[in-house]
Subunit: 258 residues, 2 copies
DNA sequence: GGACGATCTTCCGCTCAACGGAAGGCCGGC
DNA sequence: GCCGGCCTTCCGTTGAGCGGAAGATCGTCC
């Protein structure tokens, strides 16, 4: 018989969410059937939901046959206080740093076992950079990730060490080696990688710390990506540290008021 | 009597949307009853919807008593192709321009009768700037707005002239004067304002054009905000024009491939 | 040209999940 | 203690969402 029982188990909201979830940076534009398949929603249902989402307020757009994320979601996303304060406070410092060194600069925070990139300024295109604002990478795979991991609580480090999946052929997957690297990051107060994420790109990263009664707390990591043949990589560390200190101080100041 | 018939007239999706819509940049953090009131949803219903939105995938967060836009909406928003190409293509040019002039740089497109700011780099804090990425301002109230209006089709100009609401005490509301200003913008190929939006801020703006078989098409406006006492304002126009031309060419190139 | 396949859209009867008023906590102020 | 906001839980009613089937549309291949 045709006809349905209502949704079997999931609320309407959650299916609409499932439909939205079908979109990802790999697939920002999808056809109806792709969405239905990716979200596990029956085709008819997906069709109706997308219709509502489109009609009812530009959450979803459909300029041609395919569907894409609409303007309203962009608006709403900008309201998200995801590190809103950090981003606002850090922006001018990232600017200055970029002006000085002219390479890609980015800022990341730890979210679980990932580094979440919250801000970024692109440099000359010659250096290939994979991270984008909003993207996540495992903590053990990048410079900023290692800085964040080195500063993370022990249980996070343990969990991270437990699952060292390679992201590229050059990702560090040897536990002993990573432990040694983390110790060195803590000692030198900066991390350095060479072509681990993408060939032709080296990086250095430093922690952004806020002073707390219990000691300094690393709230983010600031990194730059440069061509690996640069000889003066180490010379950039002071500039990075200066910017990081600036952000840390500005953050502490702005947190007093809230 | 107790009990309800289902939702009277609006689909579930649309009420969930209404709830999301309650959030705005004026009020990014709201309590349950505020949301219920703003969205016109019965309190109980709002409560349930927010619960689902929160539980079912971090669309909404609730760190303390109040609700706020969650991380997932931020993620999704970043996928929105709202001028995605324009933003990506323009970013390095805005960078270079900012490095040269060191003041606030921003990029806006026309959306209906508003200028929508899609990208921005802040300059020295001394100059007060109201626009943010994602915000909208009437076309007649700002430099980039006037550039966009000067390049808009006649029917848009007419509609804009029909409702000249003042945004600040210094907004141009005289129709004749605005018409004259627009003519001058077209002739000089740049717009200039002085303390119209906020005291202590002047601006200049130029169109970003793409060559089309039918002639040049203005797709965006590029503007800077500087202190009004600067004497060398006009000298910056060439730099702005150069950046705008660069963006236009890069856009045309990238559009060939799509 | 005509048949086929893939994809999108409309239709419609059957349920059950959403609805929201009422009532029950919770807290802080007077 | 009592009152007034604000939030949360409860529950009977019912219409809104559900999704299979069938129709429409379009491009492709023989």
């Amino acid at each position: 018989m045709a006809g349905g029982s209502g949704s079997p188990g999931r609320s309407v909201t959650s299916r609409a969410l499932g439909v939205l979830d079908a979109f990802s940076s790999d697939a920002p534009r999808l056809s109806l059937s792709e969405i239905a398949e990716r979200s596990g929603t029956p085709l008819t249902t997906a069709h109706r939901l997308l219709g509502e989402l489109t009609e009812w307020g530009a959450l979803i757009r459909r300029p041609d046959g395919r569907y894409e994320i609409g303007r309203k979601l962009w608006d709403l996303g900008l309201l998200a206080p995801v590190q809103l304060e950090l981003r606002q406070v850090a922006a001018p410092f990232l600017q200055d740093l970029h002006t000085t060194i002219r390479d890609t600069v980015h800022l990341a925070v730890r979210e679980g076992l990932s580094a979440l990139y919250v801000e970024r300024i692109s440099g000359r295109e010659s250096v290939p950079v994979v991270s984008q604002v909003g993207s996540r990478l495992p903590l053990h795979a990048t410079g900023v990730g290692k800085v964040l991991l080195a500063a993370a609580p022990d249980d996070v480090v343990e969990k991270a060490l437990a699952e060292l999946r390679p992201v590229t052929r050059h990702t560090v997957v040897d536990r002993e080696r990573l432990v040694r690297e983390l110790a060195e990051v803590r000692r030198r107060r900066y991390a350095r990688t060479c072509e681990e994420m993408s060939p032709g790109a080296a990086s250095i990263a430093v922690p952004v710390q806020v002073e707390r009664p219990t000691g300094p707390l690393a709230v983010a990591a600031l990194g730059i990506v440069v061509p690996p043949h640069r000889r003066d990589l180490a010379r950039m560390v002071p500039a990075l540290e200066m910017a990081a200190r600036g952000i840390g101080r500005a953050l502490a100041r702005s947190m007093q008021f809230h």
